[in-house]
Assembly symmetry: C2
C-alpha cells in the first residue's frame, strides 16, 4: 500500500484535549476521527488493526466451539420489558420511537435477543451445551465518554453467550472461556489480569473482569502480592470489606487503577426464567436454561493495545495486531532508489507493506514511521545503498542493520517472529 | 460441525405469511428469526453464508484499490443538516435524542460521514483518486418491510465512496466499479443486469442499478431485446417517456419486475460543496471534490442468492456462498457407520462439513439436507457400505454415485469446482 494513496493525515502536534496516551497517539497518527462525543470514524489503518484483533477473538471463540451469528442492534422495547431491564437501566440505554410509534432500543448488550433465539431453537438437553457469539456494533449512551476509544458510545464488541443444562457444565465452560480470554490478550500483546467483579445489571452469580494494569484506568484494583488475589474495589465495597486486607490470605492489598478489557458472567437462569427459555432434561423434566455471557470491547482493545505498546516516538504495534508488518521508506529523488523501493514493495508484498512514497524529507518520513509504529521499517536511501543495501530497523528495540536486497525478506521475517 | 450442536431448528411446515420463496426457505431452514418488523437475527448458518458474500464484496473492492474503514451508525443530526438531508428525508431516517438532548440519527447511508472525513484528510490532488468502503450495519425505517431479508429495516450493507479531482477520473472509476459489481454478482451465483436508474435522494448525475431478474421484485424493469437497453420504469416515468418504446433504438420494450441488488451513483460535487470538502488542484486552485458512491445490500444479497438458487426441495447454495461445502449424513445405529462418519468428518474437514449426527430417521435427515442445500451430500449408510462405500450426491443436479472411502475427497472436490 502506498502511503500517498492511503486515506490518512498524521498530525505533528499533540492534541490539546486528550489525556490518555492511546487517545493522543490514535489522533496524532490519524487513525481515528471524532464525529460526535464518544463516536468516531476509524480510518483504514485503524480498521485493519481492529480487524486483526477481531480475528484473534474469532479464532479463540471458534476454538472453544463458539458459533458466530448476528443479532440486531435495533430491538423492540417489548423484548427488554420481558426481563425488566427496559425500566431498570438508566439513560445509558438509548431509546427511540419508530415511524409506527413502536418503542425501540439500541442494544448495549444482547442477553434478551439471544435468549429469544434460544427459547425458539433449544428444546432438548441433547442440544447443550452451546455457545454463540457475534462481533458487532453496540451503542451505550455513556454519561461521560472519554479517552478516545476507551469509553465510547458506539463501539464494536465481541459478545458471547453460552447455554447449559446444569451448573457443572456452566462452571466447566466458564473455565474454558477464561483460558480463551487469557490466550486472546496474550496474542494481542497486552497483559491482562483476571479480577473478581460484580455482576451489576447483568444479574446472576460469579463474575470476573480482565484488567489491563494501567495508571490511566478508571477502575481501582486491589492486588495481593502474597496470594495473587485481585479484585475490583467496587466489589469489595459492595461486600462492605475495608479494602486493605486480602479476604483470601489476610495479606496487605495494594491499589492500582486498571482499564477493563473484558468481562465474563455466570448469569444462571435470570434471563431464561424471565423469558421462558426452557429445555427438557434427560429425565424429561422442563428446566430453565443456565446461561453465561462473555464480552470483549474490540474498539477499546485497539486503544489498550496502543496504551500498552508505545514509546516516546509513537505506537509500537505488536506484530499480531499491526495494520502492516513493514513500513517501507524511500528517501531522496534518485530514480534507482525509487526503482529499488518498487521492487521491495512487490517483494515484501503490497498487502503487508506500507510504502511511504510521498515527496517529503527524511525527517518527516522517519518521524511518521515511528508514529505509525509498524514492527519493521525498511529504508531505501542513497546512504544505505552505498553501505551495501537497505536499512532494516526493528521498531520495538530500535536495532538497525544494513541488509543486501536478497536477504531483506529473511531479515524482516526474523524480526517479525 | 455436528448438526446436533448447531444452533438451528428446521421447520417442516411452510410459514403461512411469507410470500417470497427466499423468505419461506430462510425461515423453514431456520437460518433467520424475526425479532421485529424488518429486523431479524441471523443464526450461525445464515451468518456463514452472509460472511462469504461479504468476503467476495471485500475482495472485489480491494481489487480496484478500495480501502476498508468503519464509519459510525449513530451520527449527530448536525452532520445531516449540513447537506439539508435532515429535513429532506422522510420518516425512513430514524431519529433519537441522546441523554444530553442532542438530536441524533441512525445512518441509512454515509455520504455525510465520509465527506466529513474527506474534508479533514484530503488536501491535494496528489491524494486522488481514492476509494473507501465499509461493510456495516445500517438502519432505514422502511414504511413497508417485506420478504424476509429483501426489504429490512436493519441490514448489513457494503457502501463505497470515491473521491476525484475531475469528471474524467470519476467516469473512469465508475466503469471500474461497474466491472467489479458484475464480477461480484457472478461469483455469488446470481445474474444481475445493469439498468439506468434515478439518483433520487442521493443527488448528482449518472446512476445505475443492478437488478436480479425476478417476478417477485418490486421494481418494474423495461427491457429492450433488440439493443439490450434496460431501465427502471420509475426513471422513464420521471423523464415522461411512455415506457413502451425503447429510447435508444425505438424497439419495443417488455416489462418485468426486478429486485435491486446494488446501485452506483455519480454524486458530483453535491456533498463536497455543501460540506466544504475542497482540494488543491495541480494549478493551485481550490476545487470541490467529485464523488461517487456504490452500494450493495449484503443482507438482501443473501436472500437473492436463495431466490435465484433453489428447487422444490430447498436451497441450492452456489459453492461460493454455501455455509458448508459438504453435508454429511450418517444413517442407522450401527457403530461402524458412526465410526465411518467420524472419519469422513475429519477427512473432509470439520470446518467445511456439516455432519448430521442426530438420532433421526433417514427421511427427515435427507429432507433437511435438501432444505439446507449444501452443494454436496455424502451419505454413510449400511446400504451404501454394502454397495462399496458412501453415497455422494450433487445437490444441484441430483447426480449420485457410490464412492470408495479413499476416493470420496476427490469426488467431492470435482463436484465443488
Amino acid at each position: 500500500m502506498r502511503l500517498s494513496q492511503l486515506l490518512i493525515k498524521t498530525e505533528q502536534q499533540t492534541p490539546a484535549d486528550a489525556d490518555l496516551i492511546s487517545h493522543r497517539l490514535l489522533l496524532r497518527s490519524g487513525l481515528i476521527r471524532q464525529v460526535s462525543t464518544g463516536i468516531y470514524s476509524l480510518t483504514p489503518l485503524a480498521w485493519r488493526a481492529m480487524q486483526r484483533i477481531a480475528e484473534i477473538a474469532r479464532d479463540e471463540m471458534n476454538r472453544i466451539g463458539g458459533q458466530e451469528l448476528l443479532l440486531p442492534v435495533a430491538q423492540p422495547a417489548s423484548l427488554w420489558r420481558e426481563t425488566g431491564r427496559y425500566a431498570a437501566i438508566d439513560a445509558s440505554l438509548a431509546r427511540f420511537t419508530d415511524r409506527n410509534r413502536q418503542e425501540m432500543v439500541l442494544a448495549m448488550t444482547h442477553e434478551e435477543a439471544v435468549t429469544d433465539l434460544a427459547r425458539h431453537v433449544i428444546q432438548s438437553h441433547r442440544q447443550l451445551p452451546v455457545m454463540v457469539y457475534q462481533i458487532q456494533t453496540k451503542f451505550r449512551d455513556e454519561a461521560r465518554p472519554r479517552g478516545g476509544l476507551i469509553r465510547l458510545r458506539e463501539f464494536q464488541m465481541k459478545d458471547a453467550y453460552s447455554f447449559h443444562a446444569d451448573a457443572q457444565s456452566l462452571t466447566e465452560f466458564y473455565g474454558r472461556v477464561t483460558a480463551a480470554y487469557k490466550s486472546f490478550y496474550a496474542r494481542c500483546g497486552i497483559q491482562a489480569i483476571q479480577v473478581e467483579s460484580d455482576a451489576g445489571m447483568m444479574g446472576g452469580g460469579d463474575a470476573h473482569e480482565f484488567m489491563l494494569l494501567s495508571d490511566s484506568g478508571e477502575d481501582t484494583l486491589l492486588l495481593c502480592d502474597a496470594c495473587a488475589y485481585a479484585a475490583n474495589l467496587e466489589v469489595l465495597e459492595l461486600q462492605q470489606l475495608t479494602g486493605d486486607i486480602c479476604p483470601r490470605c489476610e495479606g496487605t492489598l495494594r491499589r492500582m487503577r486498571g482499564i477493563e478489557v473484558g468481562n465474563i458472567f455466570q448469569l444462571g437462569t435470570k434471563y431464561s426464567e424471565a423469558m421462558g427459555a426452557f429445555f427438557t432434561d434427560s429425565q424429561g423434566a422442563r428446566k430453565p436454561l443456565l446461561m453465561g455471557c462473555y464480552g470483549i470491547g474490540i474498539s477499546r482493545m485497539l486503544a489498550c493495545v496502543v496504551e500498552a505498546n508505545h514509546d516516546g516516538a509513537g505506537i509500537v504495534w505488536p506484530t499480531s495486531v499491526a495494520p502492516y508488518a513493514v513500513h517501507l521508506v524511500s528517501l531522496g529523488h534518485e530514480p534507482e532508489i525509487r526503482t529499488m523501493a518498487e521492487e521491495l514493495h512487490a517483494m515484501l508484498g503490497a498487502e503487508n507493506t506500507l510504502w511511504d512514497d510521498r515527496p517529503l524529507g527524511a525527517g518527516r518520513k522517519l518521524q511518521d514511521a515511528d508514529l505509525l509504529g509498524m514492527p519493521v521499517r525498511v529504508t531505501a536511501s542513497p546512504r544505505a545503498l552505498a553501505a551495501g543495501g537497505v536499512e532494516v530497523r526493528h521498531r520495538q528495540t530500535g536495532r538497525t542493520r544494513i541488509a543486501a536486497l536478497d536477504e531483506v525478506q529473511m531479515v524482516v521475517d526474523s524480526l517479525l517472529q
